[in-house]
Chain length 454, copies 2
Amino acid sequence: MSESKKFLLNERDIPTAWYNIVADMDNKPKPIINPATKEPLKAEDLFPLFAEEVSRQEMNTTDAWIEIPEEVRDLYKIWRPTPLVRARGLEKLLDTPAHIYFKNESVSPVGSHKLNSAIAQAYYCKKQGVTNITTETGAGQWGAALSLAAKMFGLELAVYMVKISYHQKPYRRNIMSTYGAQVIASPSMSTKAGRKIITERPNYQGSLGTAISEAVELAMSTPNCKYTLGSVLNHVSLHQTVIGLEAEKQMEMAGEYPDKIIACFGGGSNFSGIAYPFMRHNLAGDTNIQFIAAEPESCPKLTRGVFQYDFGDEAGYTPLIPMYTLGHDFAPANIHAGGLRYHGAGSIISQLLKDKKMSAVDIPQLEAFDAAIKFAQAEGIIPAPESSHAIAATVREALRCKEEGKKEVLLFNLSGHGLIDMTAYDSYLAGDLENYKVSDEEIRRNTDKLEKII
Amino acid sequence: MSESKKFLLNERDIPTAWYNIVADMDNKPKPIINPATKEPLKAEDLFPLFAEEVSRQEMNTTDAWIEIPEEVRDLYKIWRPTPLVRARGLEKLLDTPAHIYFKNESVSPVGSHKLNSAIAQAYYCKKQGVTNITTETGAGQWGAALSLAAKMFGLELAVYMVKISYHQKPYRRNIMSTYGAQVIASPSMSTKAGRKIITERPNYQGSLGTAISEAVELAMSTPNCKYTLGSVLNHVSLHQTVIGLEAEKQMEMAGEYPDKIIACFGGGSNFSGIAYPFMRHNLAGDTNIQFIAAEPESCPKLTRGVFQYDFGDEAGYTPLIPMYTLGHDFAPANIHAGGLRYHGAGSIISQLLKDKKMSAVDIPQLEAFDAAIKFAQAEGIIPAPESSHAIAATVREALRCKEEGKKEVLLFNLSGHGLIDMTAYDSYLAGDLENYKVSDEEIRRNTDKLEKII
């Protein structure tokens, strides 16, 4: 291991505006539509569910820059700006001519990038007088971030946590309770949707789709209560762009510019966050950076899914979103990167991928853990299983550079640390994990069911 | 919660020398002595067990500044300098006129300050050609830090982990394995000392004393192998002074100077680290800062122990150290702050306390957790159960300031985060934890057994 080199900004360098890439896209994403009427939704249609400002941000296709409220920026100061690190230890271990940099979002108090949007969403709810909020969480990264954000603004929060995770990941549940949130294993008896499922299938261990249904139902049936979401939607990606905006300044400090930018991909929040600010220069024709989304081999919507309108949730309660999807009832294998177990991609990403403004690779689980261990031993930080997919894709690129004797500058986003996921490492080191490759037939079976709207 | 304010240094501000307080003490600590001859030990006497440079540092009473090797400083750059934070959220929650600052050592990749000494010790071993090192660990913070440090320098490491912790804290064990260390539950069959205990008491769950015996035996019986220790000894405190030296510069940035400096106390490593650099100005007569060590009520060596020569380990294999002690076979209650369950204090601290250069308070377990939850909700960071004792002592001072209507500047050391200790929080929130007050009789029973050397 050789020394790594951090590039640090001052608090005054925290961005003052988020970057809204839609404003700069020639081909705008297709609109989100009402499943019944197939009519495009307006911002007002989202008001009953989401905070009003967030609904407007979701539909904003014209303003490239949206000011970050001072209160949000002040709270970002708890951990932002985050470090950009030259991963000299990893470079040496791989013996590569590539220069590897990573943006370290794991330094947030909750251990991931999710807090960037959680704070913004809680702020907008508070500002319009909301008192209660709800959400769902799978692995628990989003739930933990929102629990802290809710406490910061004095909001009551109910988190529906997928039942299997509730029992398998007690540490994440305990983190949410410590911040003062109510955590409910989903399906639960607290909603009609939950009661129905429990009655029909008493031992059902839950899914993100069910948890979304419960959180939405609670929000809709509680006075002064709004629902929040941690990925997929445009406003979430928008809030995450602080990552890339900071990284841009830091690459300048390092005196280099990335040839390739790499991030793991679940719903798209951390990928968008690091990619969009750099991508604006590609869209303007000034740069030619390659953007690579690293998804799990077991949930390959970007590399093997279809481009079609689909629901955001398993149960089909959400509007229809234009997306690369494996079908909303696709059941991903039980990999440890719980945050990447999602059937679809947001509408912006899907359009960018369709227009070849970015590319995607899929990473087998064992390759992700192998890369994670290399990174931990070389750089000291134990990465989240999700983030390890970005590391694995970066290792591939670095080894290609070595083979080709080519110096390239690689930048990846370390979206979170893995300290709450140590049982996953234990299983890997014990040789108990496997790869899960999805068959063409399974993908076809799921996607064939989708209504052909596009 | 209001915004907190970070004070950040640059990498060039990482100290270039450690501060050796012994050189500035009028009353030097009494020497460590050989239990059989009662003769003071020389540095050479420690060479068979410890790295030579570390042994010399242990005995150095004349040089106030000891240069930090460039290789160590380079590795410190992975996470150092650490932030100093104005805890405005906590101030607001307590409604206190006090200004509260904390030094955030939880940002290291292993989550605590322990890495400051682990890197130095691994470096000195490597430099003299050592290939294997051993240590023991209780809760696992030191073991995790040394595992990473050993990997950085390509050393093989065997960690004897107290058996009960090995099973109760699998995450910490998994972290060590991920960094490539061998982790052995102690007592084990790999040493004579371990085999003897297992034969006599097959179900014995281990103790720090037994683990030390095993680690020492392995080091002494393995070619080219040295033993390392994570607290108590002078050289460990020395390495930790980077904490206080950075904090001093950062308080200057903040334009304030601490009236009181507070840290939790187990063996003394994090307390020494933040306190000694500031204390040198007290010793020189230039300042009048108060230093407060916060120990658990269940293990009150500083507030209720005796000052006497005692062994560093339960089994009595180490030299005799002049210390405030509860007796080396005192069995502390099973509190969650595992890192504070130690019977004695190092020789420097003990002399400073005897000479009233510092003071100590003892904190009940429930008060520590109550303070921890307040801090987590106000500042976002979930503290380690150990560090929560420092927070509780700080809360006491802040509330006293409120009562007296007095503005004081309080600085405490956040030695580590609690993300690996979430089951402790779960138990606290469920109402399952208790306080453990030690009786005078138990203390007397243990300390009466000590040979009266002083």
